[in-house]
Structure formats: C-alpha cells, structure tokens
C-alpha cells in the first residue's frame, strides 16, 4: 500500500501537462474566462484536439480507441485536466451512450455510431426523463409502435415528451427510452432507440433554469418515424441498457480533481476578502473551520474514489458503491459553491449577465457568476438519479435491505 508514482507515471504527467499547455485552444480559454454560454463549436474544440491525439476516450476499450491507460494514469489525467481548467468532455456520447453501444450493440451499430462519437462529429443528447417519470424512470410513457411502412421496411412510430434534455438545442442525435410494450411490467416493456433529431415531428423547446441559463430542454415527439435497426439490444429489454448507462454516469461524478481546484479558488477568494474585524476571511475562526471541514471531507472522498479505482483495475466494473461517489461528490461540489458565494458577501448579489449579452462587472472579478453557479449547482443532487435514489440503490444493492 503506497501513494508513490513510478518514474513512468511522473513522465506521463509531464507529457499530459505539456500537451495541455501547448494545445489547449486560446479561444476556448477566453470564452471560459468570460463566463458566457459556449457555442457549439467551442464545446467541441478540445474534444476534437484530443480525438486527434488519441486521448479523448480513456474509458473505452483499447481496441475501440481507448487509451489503455492504467487507473493511475487516468487519475493523473483527471488531475491535470482539472488543474488546467480544461472544459470537460461532453458525456452524452462519449461516456453515456458509447458504453451501451459497445456493450449491447451490433457490429453494424458499433461501426456506424462509435467513430462519430469519438471524433466529436455527432452531438448526442439524452431522452430519459419525462414530465411524469423522474426518479421513477421506469414509469415512462413515450410510446413506440412498430409498423411496416409502404417501403416494406419496419419502423417505430414514437409519440411522447422527454424533458431535462441537457444541451439538446445543439444535438444531432438522441438516445431515447421508449415504451414498446404497454402491457408488460414497467421495466420490461422498454426499448432503447437512437433517433436522428432532424426527423420530422421532433421539437426542442428551451427550459430556462433559475439562474437564467438555457441548458436544458423539453423534447416533443409527434409521430416520429425511427428505423427498427436504430434500436440497441432486444426489443423490450432497453432497461438493461439504461441501468448500465446509469452506473457509468455515476462513476465519473465524484469530480474530485475539479473540487480540489475549486477549493484552491475558494481559499484564494477567502484570503482576499476581509472578515468583520479586517483580517483575511480565511483567518476568521468560523469561516476557516468550514473550509477545513470541507477539505477533510474531500480528502476522504478522494481516497474512497482511489479505492474504487483500485477495485475496478482488479476487474470489478463500476458497482453500486459508485453511488457513494455520487452522493458525497455532489454534496461537496454544492458546499464549495455555497462557501464561495458566502465568501464574497455583498458582491454575490449583482446579476450582470442580462439578456443583452453585456458582461460588465462590478466588485471583484471572482465574485461574478458565483450565485449563478450555486443556483445551477443544486441540480447535481437531483440529476443522474437523485441522491435519495442513490441511497435506495445502496440500501438494496450493497446492504441487501
């Protein structure tokens, strides 16, 4: 048991650091610093650079374009990309859909879809939640009826509504859970469909969230015609795919490296801000205690994640234990956002990103947008299976209750 990096691992870290320094796009850095919503091209800039380098899909099997990195190398990668504040790779195609395709898809489907996901040429969105199916996802009602069309081919005709579709406004394709057998038990009548978002009958409508951003959408499907060969795995067995995807969704969710970086930011803010007595806020006994407790909690999470990674490297996939990472990871992310907002005092209040696009600032630069991040961050304990659902998963799958 040790925490030492081998000389090879240290060389790898240097290589990663240098690559990021030399190749991270300046235009993207500028857009991130301005804090405005990114364009579709900006979202994909870093993805495409990494695809070219062969580093975009560390989680994939090597023969499909994965990096073949050891768990330690992956850990170094996540540390270095977080340290440099690289834009995270969008998860929808890369880490949510791709594992479903390479685990359950046909060879034909792998050939058709994986290269475009890898190269960032197709933007995917997720069609899981519905207005009446949130935590109880299996109660979803979007209906797909199988027909033979005039061209002699088989299609599903899809009708229903999906919601909370993140960045669906940019999506080229979506992966959807639909009900193909209305009479079966909730989990057993569901199929997993890939749908071209340009198909007639699809309408994407923005949902503006409380901090004023447009990230999520409603997706309406009105007699949308989907070829049967766009179904992954067997008809009525899409729940198997859905569950596998959720486990993958949870495993990267701890966000330890990014939280470490945000903790550094918080310390910088709290060293600059003044307490009531005029000393640095970070030397105020109440505030520093909160920072210390958070830092310790984050250390514990880091080692829990490392233990999970070590378990995975010995052949166990991401198990239900990854629910711990989701619960603690999101609690820590939210706590960091709360403390940052608390630290800036009065300057948490100005709302400067108005719809005219002006981004003038008042007060210190670091205060700008902190409230919005905190408001937006409340989603993390709700999405990906709410933290209460994660507790249900641990109770059932780990504790056998």
């Amino acid at each position: 048991m040790n925490l030492d990096f081998t000389p090879e691992e240290n060389t790898f870290r240097e290589e990663v650091r240098t690559f990021i320094k030399e190749n991270y796009p300046a235009a993207l850095r500028k857009a991130q610093d301005e804090g405005r919503p990114l364009t579709k091209d900006e979202y994909l800039m870093w993805h495409k650079i990494l695809a070219k380098k062969g580093w975009v899909a560390p989680g994939w099997p090597k023969e499909l374009g994965g990096t073949g990195w050891t768990p330690t190398q992956k850990y170094i990668w996540s540390e270095e990309t977080a340290r440099a504040d690289c834009l995270p790779i969008l998860p929808f195609g890369m880490s949510m859909l791709a594992p479903v395709i390479y685990t359950f898809g046909t060879d034909e489907q792998k050939k058709t879809f994986l290269p475009d996901i890898y190269n960032g040429d197709v933007w995917w969105c997720q069609g899981y939640s519905e207005p009446g199916a949130g935590s109880d996802l299996a109660s979803l009602k979007t209906k797909a009826e199988r027909i033979t069309a005039d061209d002699g081919k088989e299609y599903y005709i899809v009708n229903g509504q999906k919601t909370w579709t993140t960045l669906g406004q940019h999506a080229d394709w979506g992966f959807f859970l639909v009900r193909t057998d209305p009479d079966a038990k909730p989990q057993s009548g569901i199929s997993f469909l890939l749908i071209d978002m340009k198909t007639p009958g699809i309408e994407v409508r923005p949902i503006i969230t409380l901090e004023g951003g447009h990230e999520v959408n409603d997706v309406f499907l009105d007699n949308v015609k989907v070829p049967v060969e766009n179904r992954i795995f067997h008809e009525n067995q899409g729940w198997t795919c859905a569950k596998a995807l959720l486990a993958h969704e949870r495993s990267g969710i701890a966000g330890v490296a990014r939280s470490k970086r945000n903790l550094e930011k918080l310390r910088t803010i709290a060293n600059t801000e003044r307490s009531d007595t005029g000393s640095a806020l970070l030397s105020d006994s109440f505030f520093r205690r909160k920072v210390a407790e958070l830092e310790i909690d984050l250390t514990a999470l880091e080692f829990t994640e490392l233990r999970t990674l070590a378990g995975e490297s010995s052949g166990k996939g991401p198990g239900p234990e990854s629910s711990i990472l989701k619960i603690k990871g999101t609690e820590i992310q939210q706590r960091l956002q709360e403390l940052a907002l608390e630290a800036v005092g009065h300057y948490g209040a100005p709302f400067l990103r108005d719809l005219s696009g002006s981004n003038a600032t008042v007060g210190p630069d670091y205060a700008d947008g902190l409230a919005g991040e905190m408001f937006n961050g409340r989603k993390t304990s709700i999405y990906g299976g709410s933290n209460e659902i994660q507790r249900n998963i641990i109770a059932k799958m780990v504790l056998g209750l």
Binding site: F5, E9, A280, A292, I296, D297, L306, A310, L399, L401
Partner: protein, 380 residues
Amino acid sequence: MDFSFTEEQSMLRDTVAAYLADHYDFDKRRAVVTKEPGWRPEVWKAFAEELGILGAPFSEELGGLGGGAIDNMVVMEEFGKALVVEPYLGTVVIGGGFLKHSGHAGAADLIGGIIGGTNIFAFAYAEPKGRYNLAALETTAKKDGAGWVLNGHKAVVIGAPFATHLIVTARTAGGPRDAQGISVFLVEKGAKGVTTRDYPTVDGLRASEVYFENVSLGADALIGPADNGLPLVEKVVDEAIAATCAEACGVLRKLHEGTLEYTKQRKQFGQPISSFQVLQHRMVDMFINVEQAVSMTYMANIKVTDDAERAKAASAAKVQIGKACRFVGQNAIQLHGGMGMTDEMAIGHYFKRATMIETAFGSVDHHLARYEFLSLGAAA
C-alpha cells in the same frame, strides 16, 4: 499507487482474525473485563509466542516481522472488531514507536522484550489540566547529577495497570505549555516513588492515575533529546492516531453490520423494520461514514511515515473518524431501540468504545484546529 495488501499483510490479518474468532467472543470478553485483572495475560502470551504479532511493525534485525504502519493498521482493525483490551497500542505502537525513533541505546533489548511479550508499555502523557495539548505539562524532571528526578501526576494512563514500563512526558525547561523544554522518559513501573490508582474505564479497558514523587531516574532513562522531545512525542502520537483510526474502522464495521442484521430480524407493524425507507437511508449514511473512515485510515497510515505530511494526515483522519464514531455509534443504538440500551447486547459495548475513540488523542475540535493551522496557516 497501490491499495493492495501484501501477501504477508493478508496472512497477518487472517492469523489475527482466526485467533480472535476462537478465543475472543463477546461473552468471553465481557466476563474478562468485568473482573480482575481485566485482561488475559495468556492471550498476550499467545500474541507473542503463538501468533508472533507483537513483532509486526519491527525490523527483522530487531527480531520483528519487518512490517510498519500498514501492519499495525491490519492488526488494529481486527482488534477493533473483537474489542480487544490487551495493550497492543500502548506497547507495540507507542512504546515500540518511541524506542524505534529515538535511537535509545537500550532500544534493541527493550524491543526484544516487547516482541517476546515480557515488556508491556503504557503512555503517561495526559495530565489533569492539560486537556489534549501535548505540551501542557506540570510534571517535571529536574537534572540531578547524571540523572533526573521526576515529580507529577499523569491522568487516565490507559493500560498502566498491566504495564511493566511507562513512557512519561515531563517538563525539563521552559514555562507551562512551551513547545520547548519537554523531555521523554522511560520509567519502570516498579520504581521507587511511583504509585498508581487503578480503575476500569467505561469501554472495558483499565487505566491508572499515576503519581511520581521524587522518582530518581538514571541518565539512560531519557528517550530522545533532552528539552526538545516534543517533535518525537508528536510523531509517535500521530502514529498512535493512525492505529487508533484502524481500530475504529473495525468497531465501526461491527456497529454497522450489527445494525443491518438487527433491523432485518426485528419486526414491527408486521414487517422487518429494515423495510422502512427512513431506516434504510440512515443505514446508508452510516455505511458512507464507515467507508469514508476506512479511506481516511488508509490515507493516514500511508502518509504517517512521511514527516512532511504526517501531522496533517493524522489530524484529518482523526476528524473524520471522530465524526463517524459519533454518527455511526449513536445511530446504531437508536436503530436497535430499547435493545440497544441493554448491557447484554454487544452493540452497546461497541458504541462505548467508539465514543471513547472519538476523543482519544484529541477531540474533533482539537484536530480541526490543528488541521486548520497546518493547512490554512495561523488564525487572526
């Protein structure tokens, strides 16, 4: 980076677990701790001779098994599961730690006695008014020719009733609470002028108030540097914290498992109470606390050998473990309902040990303050 145990460490765990399964069930332990002498010398003898574990963290040159902090961690976690009362912490971890790190001329012989089971150590550091400050010492040692004269009162010295030797911290120079002017001494418990008042503790251990009245010590009683012993004390206490965290992990696992089992059997409203979501979520939160405590214990035991990281790591772990002891311990009793209140069930005994570990070598507040200082710098 590697989180696996070596083959030797896995064997050590299996050996200890198998012995405790055969010789250390709850009823036996309860009978032992409620009457004199409060421990089983024959178990200690078996640790030394049959299992050979008292040499776990000592080098092979000294006659040990060549392990270190991780080996202590393995042993202590198993001891926590069985609520072992024999003085491994005081003797092997703390006594052995002082001897190993100090370069004391008699260290090899004394460690030989530890490994053989004949030397038993207790750590006399706490004082009635010192709380958790290792430098708050009213016990004094005054130079007397080549040797020293020791006077003072040490509080709640765990394991002292069984000990052959005491490790004593004393002020040899400077004012109260000064970091400088502290020295560490090895005192034979039978030495003239040493008296004790022995008593049981609430968690089944034995301890003593120890009084020193003009105890005359030779020059070779000094362990480590004269007047500058605090860094050595801190180092050994951090090692003791890392080991105690491991014991806590064993205790916490049993508290959690015991609660799972009990709630599956206990029926109310016509169903096992484990089917109620409010209790399920509580037990999940207990589980998360246990896993986070285990993670921090690994972290602390890995980093405890790195002097640059040691103190921060030990305090961080002690904060996490202290909180977990309270949360898991109290909820284990709560979920057992009235049965949790009985002396008959093991759960209460684990709870009592967890509660004492929560403040052993410093409370959550103490270690948060220490961590803050180490991580964030001095306060205003």
